[in-house]
């Protein structure tokens, strides 16, 4: 369980004034949960993820993973970036095995586990390719496999599908649901697509900017019905899905208007 307790972050603006990026955000990610953070740009969702990953210290508040305070990056929290940060001088399999190398796992064992993970994301044939030979969607799948390799307790995903075309994106969403249901990892996933958020998450938090805070929370069931029936289209066109999508859209939009008016 990852617990965020009244986390606040102030950045320094260019003129030195503090900017309130995250305002007393509290959040619990239970084991096996898929939590999606939705919001417009500037709502603090990436700030929150960076703090969870340990890239960013908090101004106040705390983050703990299974009772241990988070104070810096670590292998128990895997990160998938918006733009894959693969190393071009290593093959796909070597990239996936990087965390295992850091942990001191032997070469043969590394290779074996990397190929297993590549099979999980459907890229076993590309083990010996260079990352720059792959398409954007494939590179993100390598990024997911790499983040899973050290067997982290939680996967933090920062708009991983934001740069993909919409068809690839839908395929990636279904793949991610498979990965999630097979590995049972907790996932914290950031997006600004309402449909993606509703489709993927077991829990949804909606965030709003200036200062970044959580304005709404929902428990969702769509991902489970997809995992059961394997029919994404039926899920996304169901009356419940459409109704909730419009409700969330109203919150996001209303919030945007209020956010601007407050300035």
């Amino acid at each position: 369980m990852l617990r965020v307790d009244k986390a606040s972050v102030y950045f320094a603006a260019r003129d030195g004034r503090p900017v309130h990026a995250l305002d007393r955000v509290s959040l619990e990610i239970p084991d096996g949960a898929f939590v999606v953070a939705l919001g417009t740009s500037g709502c603090g969702k990436s700030t929150l993820l960076n703090a969870m990953a340990g890239f960013l210290p908090l101004s106040s508040g705390s983050i703990t993973l299974n009772g241990h305070a988070v104070d810096g990056p670590g292998a128990e929290r895997g990160v998938v970036f918006q733009k894959d940060a693969l190393l071009p001088w290593k093959t796909v399999a070597e990239n996936v095995a990087l965390g295992l190398k850091f942990a001191g796992v032997g070469r043969k064992e590394r290779r074996k586990r990397a190929v297993e993970l590549l099979r999980l994301v459907g890229l076993q044939e590309f083990a010996n390719s260079a990352p720059y030979e792959l398409s954007g969607g494939m590179r993100q799948r390598v990024g997911i496999a790499r983040a899973l390799a050290p067997d982290p307790a939680i996967l933090l995903m920062d708009e991983p599908f934001g740069a993909l075309d919409s068809m690839t994106r839908e395929a990636m969403q279904e793949l991610l649901v498979d990965v999630w249901s097979r590995t049972g990892k907790q996932i914290f996933f950031i997006t600004h697509s309402i449909e993606e958020a509703l489709f993927l998450g077991t829990h949804l938090i909606v965030m709003s900017p200036r200062p970044g805070r959580i304005v709404a929370r929902f428990d969702l069931d769509f991902v489970r019905s997809f995992a059961r029936d394997r029919d994404a289209r039926a899920v996304k066109t169901s009356p419940e899905f459409v109704e909730l999508r419009e409700r969330v859209r109203a919150i996001v939009h209303q919030d945007e208007v209020y956010g601007r008016a407050a300035e």
Partner: protein
């Protein structure tokens, strides 16, 4: 099935297809090699014509044939009590020794400068002071301190080559994206693993570019240093020949230097292609 019908209509034989691409800008993709070869031929022809017609005094401009004969005699009999190979290898030994020293010192110092504020502050002062100076300006000082032998020349060359390598390594470290570093840290990398597996390879393209620049600087410094103080070496050969007004030998010396410098540059390019095939791909 109207789509299929349309496709059939559109089908044409391969010879009818006009392949197109975006209109370009600048020199485009077609090879410039034929133009360069033609230019070289024109220059040779002009040289040959000018020297045969005695447009300039023969002392200043020997004919291509004379230069060729001088090259053959240099190759067969050597010059000034040393064979051609001894002259060339003396120069190569100097530049390679200095390159190895400059590389083994410059890369760690540059990486360190990119990572530590203290290292940057400390090393910046001497490097920024001496790097813009022409090496020949402090060669006399080297000779006073280290004598006329190999030590002064190798030190001079090392200093000239050290700065571009260190500066390139430092720039290489700075070009590493924060995302790449964060990715490695969140995979559990230690400081050492981060350096070895992420920072150093990321900086490698810049380090190689810096080394190529350093070798260029090295050649010009080397020849100049040998002109002033040496008994062997290709720069000394040129100097000595000029004192006897043996212009044809001077031409040969310049040609040998050009071949060596070109070979180095070509070798560096091969090394780059082999070590950093991902350059520009990312």
């Amino acid at each position: 099935m109207t789509d299929l019908a349309t496709n059939a209509e559109l089908e044409t034989s391969a010879s009818d297809i006009r392949v197109v691409k975006m209109r370009g800008f600048g020199i485009g993709e077609r090879s410039t090699v034929p133009i360069s070869l033609a230019t070289a031929a024109v220059i040779l022809l002009a040289w040959w014509a000018a020297s045969e017609a005695r447009l300039v005094p023969h002392l200043f401009l020997p004919t291509p044939v004379e230069v060729f004969n001088a090259a053959v005699s240099f190759y067969q009999d050597g010059y000034a009590n040393a064979s051609m190979w001894e002259h060339v290898s003396a120069s190569l030994a100097r530049i390679l020794t200095a390159a190895v020293i400059a590389f083994t010192l410059g890369v760690p110092v540059g990486l360190f400068m990119g990572l530590s504020r203290w290292a940057k502050g400390v090393f910046d002062t001497p490097i920024e002071f001496y790097w813009p100076l022409p090496p020949l300006a402090y060669l006399p000082l080297m000779i006073i301190w280290l004598g006329i032998g190999e030590a002064s020349k190798i030190t001079l060359l090392t200093m000239a080559m050290f700065a571009p390598i260190a500066i390139a390594a430092q720039a290489g470290v700075r070009s590493v994206s924060l995302e790449r570093v964060n990715a490695a840290l969140s995979l559990g990398a230690t400081r050492f693993q981060l350096m070895r597996d992420v920072v150093l390879p990321s900086a490698l393209p810049e380090i190689l570019t810096g080394t190529r620049i350093a070798l260029g600087v090295g050649w010009s410094t080397l020849v100049a240093a040998e002109l002033i103080a040496a008994t062997q070496g290709i720069g000394h050969f040129v100097m000595s020949a000029s004192q006897f007004l043996a212009t044809d030998y001077v031409f040969v010396g310049i040609g040998v230097i050009a071949v060596c410098a070109f070979a180095f540059s070509f070798g560096m390019r091969l090394l780059e292609r082999w070590l950093v095939p991902w350059k520009g791909q990312s």
